[in-house]
């Protein structure tokens, strides 16, 4: 686990999520998809942890599991000292006042038949936060202002809004209950390029202004480095490397991180890293390779790599990697 200097806001230990695979007439259990396979990390108050990985890495599942939108199979999650896994329905509802989520697709995450005012007010009404409708309305105006949308958006229908505007509404809704922690699940991937920049700036400004802790899930490493304090690199449901954002992107210590960083195109020829081209495709999450799951694509793999799953060990202050080799990076 990764200790931080202050008491962490969120502490995840040995998180696991397995999906059953059933075949045949009687739905016999034939195996599991190891979507999340023993993941542990901490996030301090006001800190942004980036979760980097490609498709099939399990990063989205991790994000949803931390909020218990997906029920973890195993593991412990502590939020502000409370045991999240032990919460009953009422406790879970309370948790949702402090921990919120921003989804990827701004077109799918808003009910097309609701007016914007009701979309943003929903958390307030569900959680019964304000006593009068007037207070709710006032709060909605505040929130619209926070995301730089004018007040007349209240009466509009989502179908009239662009992707970027909708995503602002989604952010406003997430902030309605004054959460301390936000899971941002690929919040900009579905947006157009120049709008992405606007939302990234908005998120940056908001998290500083409101002191939010954030779990930022993305496959865009440049944006992740820009917004995150620390980054965890995930592959096939396991954390390969976790450390300060700059360290991960400038001096990666795990072969997968190295390949990932080198794959990002760059227009500055002198800044381009020597490209490590991985062979083949991602391994099968149903039967992951023994030992280190990355060894089948790793250019530095040795026979010993197949024996045991490498433990995350500290190689520099707050910088951990799961690799048995120290001699290559």
């Amino acid at each position: 686990m990764t200790p931080t200097s202050t008491q962490p806001l969120i502490s995840v230990s040995h998180l696991r999520k397995l999906y059953d695979i059933r075949r045949g007439l009687f739905s016999k259990l034939v195996g599991h998809v190891h979507a999340v396979n023993d993941v542990s990390f901490d996030i301090a108050p006001g800190e942004t942890l980036g979760l980097a990985g490609e498709s099939g890495s399990g990063k989205t599942t991790i994000g949803r599991s931390v909020l218990r939108l997906i029920e973890p199979t195993d593991g412990a999650i502590r939020f502000d000292g409370k045991d999240v896994m032990a919460l009953n329905a009422a406790g879970l509802r309370d948790y949702r006042k402090s921990a919120q989520i921003i989804f990827q697709d701004p077109f799918a995450s808003i009910n097309p038949r609701m007016k914007i005012r009701d979309v943003i007010a929903e958390p307030l009404r569900v959680q019964k936060i304000h006593a009068t409708e007037r207070d709710v309305d006032r709060r909605v105006s505040e929130l619209l202002d926070l995301v730089s949308l004018s007040d007349d958006y209240k009466d509009r229908s989502p179908t009239a809004l662009s992707g970027g505007q909708r995503q602002r509404v989604v952010i406003a809704r997430a902030l309605a209950v004054n959460p301390k922690f936000i899971v941002a699940d690929e919040p900009i991937s579905a947006l157009d390029v120049s709008i992405q920049a606007q939302i990234v700036s908005l998120l940056d400004e908001l998290k500083q202004r409101l002191g939010l802790a954030m779990l930022f899930i993305s496959h865009d490493l440049a944006v992740m480095e820009y917004l995150s304090d620390r980054i965890a690199v995930v592959y096939l449901g396991q954390i390969m490397e976790i450390g300060p954002a700059r360290a991960i992107t400038q001096t990666p210590k795990h072969p997968y991180t190295e390949a990932l960083i080198s794959a990002v195109p760059d227009d500055r020829p002198d800044m381009r890293r020597k490209r490590v081209v991985l062979q083949g495709d991602v391994a099968d999450p149903v039967s992951p390779p023994s030992g280190c799951v990355f060894r089948t694509r790793c250019i530095y793999a040795k026979p010993e790599c197949a024996q045991q799953r490498p433990v995350l060990r500290e190689i520099a202050p707050l910088h951990f990697k799961a690799c048995i080799r120290d001699d290559v990076l």
Partner: protein, 353 residues
């Protein structure tokens, strides 16, 4: 009318305009591509870069006569060099002749390979089908050629791949299959419309490397349509920046990135974070892309431009001007005066005076 290109050009587009009928009465057609002219030489990789709605995809589709539906009207000329050496104008070609050209002289790969592959047939069957359309081969020769193409694209276990169905392959493999199909008849020009946008970054790197290698070997020209500026820098020799249906800047990639002349290009570069760029605070471009049915007066970018001057940029329409060395083009009223101020590295934070 058959002519040939005197130089080694593969494509010459002149004053291309594409507009779509809205279907509503009393509304004029919407022009999505306006007066676009450019050419591609043999072995060159040219990128068209811009955001969605700028007309880049429509331009790419027009080059193959693929503009959807009967409500599209295409004007101008698209002169494509065919294998025999003659050129043909795609605009106005009948469907039958277009079919002869497609796949043979010019091929296209799309962003979403799943929609271009028939889920009911094996990969091998689909490659062989493409081969049988344009080339004369026995079925044994076709099978061998399919195997060769698939291996050439770096697909592991090529024989197994040929026997698989599209849904059994990953996105990266499917895209490689698409490239194999596109290359099967050795076209002189390949049009790639956002081919790696839907793929993971490591897969994108693999495919880009492979495309560059293949291009070196076959000297095929590539027109690469994308919104990713960094990808453009990695893969292209020349780039055309499009905004609101027009080319707003064009030139060799290294010049473009060292010193972008058009404020939109500069703003685009300054708005993205880049790995390792520690000091750079990104500066998003305010507002949104203009609606092609209701374009602003004067320069289409003036409302979002930090260098816009009232009275000029909102009334005068800039034309595409060429630099003195003839290598670059810019569509901006103020580019010469703005060039005086050094703002080459987009990393600078301050505003030029």
């Amino acid at each position: 009318m058959t002519t040939t290109f005197e130089d080694s050009r593969v494509l010459s587009v002149e004053h291309l305009s594409v507009s779509f009928d809205t279907g509503k009465r009393n509304t004029p057609p919407v022009t999505v591509v306006r007066d676009v002219s450019f050419s591609i030489g043999k072995g060159e990789i040219v990128a068209i870069v811009g955001e969605s709605g700028c007309g880049k995809s429509t331009t790419g589709l027009a080059l193959l006569g693929l503009n959807p539906g009967s409500n599209a009207s295409v004007k101008g000329s698209i002169n494509l060099a065919k294998k025999g050496g003659q050129t043909v104008d795609i605009v106005g070609l009948r469907e039958r002749e277009l079919r002869r050209v497609r796949g043979n002289d010019v091929a296209m790969i799309f962003q979403e390979p799943m929609s271009s592959l028939n889920p009911l047939y094996t990969i091998g069957a689909q490659i062989e089908e493409a081969l049988s359309v344009h080339r004369r081969m026995s079925s044994k020769e076709r099978a061998a050629e399919a195997l060769r193409l698939v291996s050439m694209l770096g697909i592991p276990s090529p024989a197994k791949c040929l026997n698989s169905y599209p849904h059994q392959l990953s996105g990266g493999m499917r895209q490689r299959v698409m490239i194999a199909i596109a290359l099967s008849c050795h076209p002189g020009l390949l049009i790639a419309d956002e081919p790696t946008t839907a793929l993971d970054v490591t897969v994108q790197a693999q495919i880009v490397e492979r495309m560059k290698q293949l291009q070196q070997e076959t000297q095929m020209a590539i027109l690469f349509v994308t919104h990713d500026l960094s990808l453009v820098a990695e893969i292209a020799n020349r780039a055309l920046v499009m905004y609101a249906g027009q080319i707003v800047e064009a030139g060799p990639v290294s010049d473009l990135f060292n010193q972008p002349l058009m404020p939109y290009t500069q703003a685009l570069m300054r708005s993205r974070p880049r790995l390792g760029d520690v000091r750079h605070r990104i500066k998003p471009i305010p507002g949104g892309a203009p609606n092609p049915a209701a374009l602003p007066a004067g320069c289409t970018f003036h409302k979002r431009c930090e260098h816009a001057v009232a009275g000029r940029c909102d009334t005068q329409v800039p034309s595409l001007e060429t630099t003195d060395d003839g290598l670059r083009q810019v569509r901006c009223l103020r580019w010469r005066e703005l060039r005086q101020v050094p703002q080459c590295a987009p990393v600078l934070q301050g505003q030029p005076s």
